[in-house]
Amino acid sequence: IVNTIAKLAKTCTLRLTVSRLYFILSDKAANGGISMWCELCQGNFFDEFQMEGVAAEHNEIYLELVPENLSRALKTAQNAKAVKIKLTNKHCPCLRVAVELPSLSSSSRIVTHDIPVGVIPRRLWNDFREPSVPDFDVSIYLPVLKTMKSVVERMKNLSNSLVIEANLSGEMNLKIETDLVSVTTHFKDLGNPPWASEDGCQSSAQDRDLESMAEARIDIKKLQQLLAGQQVNPTKALCS
């Protein structure tokens, strides 16, 4: 997960609560960019998890860090016996990653990485709220990412922007059109995820004609960057 984030942006925000870790990226670029909200349950990753926030009623910590540093530190941990991550404040706040590596002799080696982090003051915490899922017209499961990656990479050679269109019958198309060429790739049988109806938004989705396509035009380079960075193998990836 950290590798995927490292490919997307130079810095990101790490938010820690009692039960969860959040990696947050908000690309505030004016001409559209990638923003990301990643929520992880600490129980899935850590055997031991202790934290104490700023104050009892705001039991959270917000840190700014360079994901590439964390990714490199975690690389040494690939064959580790144990990994401990601590937030320390010696000369400056750091995430200390201590990796216990197996070694031939009876005593094991410990490699420590100190990753400098910035502590984000409470007054800025509101900048990092969970984004609400925008009202969408169509939500669809993505096809095999490998195929989508190859196609988008080739399309990048041919055009600057591409149109994604999808409908509620599990069909998705990627289209480019230039003076020289027009290319459309058709994906079928993708399946549409069911969304729990909250305030009647389910019914509006059902009113929609199953065959009609909703479309969006996006910058291919950004899409390709997003796809290329995917290191995690998702069981399902959604696009809305």
Binding site: V181, T185, H186
Partner: protein, 281 residues
């Protein structure tokens, strides 16, 4: 997996239509002649010829016979159009270039004639991509007039013998000099670069030599930058025939065996470098 033959909505019949189970049979050959953005395609009942030219001195032709295709139909005597080869190759390889065993991209190619785009249908793993590539007026192609009767010297070599030599050609040399002779040094490749001159000799009784028919000693120089793209064809081929005529024109013919064992040919024609006259040699 055959793609359905659907005539275009306008009702006009296709002038050229072809189907190929494995698009790589076509894309790998086209890559071997891809040294310019544009190519001229010439289709007859015999098959498809794709020609790329540069600087009026070099011409490369890729021949894909009708038999290579699962289906190949040409409604007129011949169909010719000019097309952007880089775009065509990007479309043919839309599902990626890595050849995983067992997966291949199926291709259907259709052309309605003058003024219409070339339409490609590519399918892999249930995903279909449709490409419409605009075509242009075909341009006059050079006619090298290289006929077998005027050939002075001819050698057929196994490609593996030449591959390393061509890969290591001294690119600081402006020319590649080719000497062919019934006497020593029989077949010599020479370069004259910043570090000095290099000569590579192939004896006539070498294992790599399949045929040796040299009648006259000839030494010709060719601009190395023009010949460099031919290494792509050399890399794919199993055999190469090298021929020169009385004017020093060079013909390189590469025999290429594809994944299914079928044979195709790629040819390069090159003019001798006129800056150097015989008197200086």
């Amino acid at each position: 997996m055959p793609l359905s033959t659907q005539p275009p909505a306008s009702g006009e019949p296709y002038v050229l239509s072809a189907s190929l189970d494995n698009a790589r049979h076509l894309s790998s050959l086209l890559k071997a002649v891809h040294f310019q953005d544009h190519a001229t395609c010439f289709a007859t009942a015999n098959g498809l010829r794709v020609t790329v030219e540069d600087a009026k001195c070099i011409q490369a032709n890729a021949f894909i016979q009708a038999e290579i295709f699962q289906e190949f139909a040409v409604q007129e005597e011949s169909v010719t159009f000019r097309i952007n080869l880089s775009v065509l190759l990007d479309c043919l390889t839309i599902f990626g270039t890595s050849s995983l065993p067992g997966t291949s991209t199926a291709l259907r190619m259709c052309y309605c004639g003058y003024g219409h785009p070339l339409v490609l249908f590519l399918e892999e793993g249930g995903v279909v991509t449709v490409c419409k590539i605009n075509t242009q007026e075909p341009e006059e192609l050079l006619d090298f007039d290289f006929c077998s009767t005027k050939v002075v010297n001819k050698i057929i070599l196994q490609s593996e013998g030449l591959r390393e030599a061509f890969a290591e050609l001294d690119m600081t040399s402006e020319v590649l000099q080719i000497t062919m002779s019934p006497d020593k040094p029989y077949f010599r490749l020479s370069t004259f670069g910043n570090a000095g001159s290099a000569h590579l000799d192939y004896p006539r009784d070498s294992d790599l030599m399949e045929a040796f028919h040299c009648n006259q000693t000839q030494t010709n120089r060719y601009k190395i930058s023009l010949l460099k793209p031919s290494t792509k064809a050399l890399a794919l081929s199993c055999k190469v025939s090298i021929r020169t005529d009385s004017q020093g024109f060079l013909s390189l013919q590469y025999m290429i065996r594809n994944e299914d064992g079928q044979i195709c040919f790629v040819e390069y024609y090159c003019c001798p470098d006129e800056d150097i006259t015989e008197a200086e040699l």
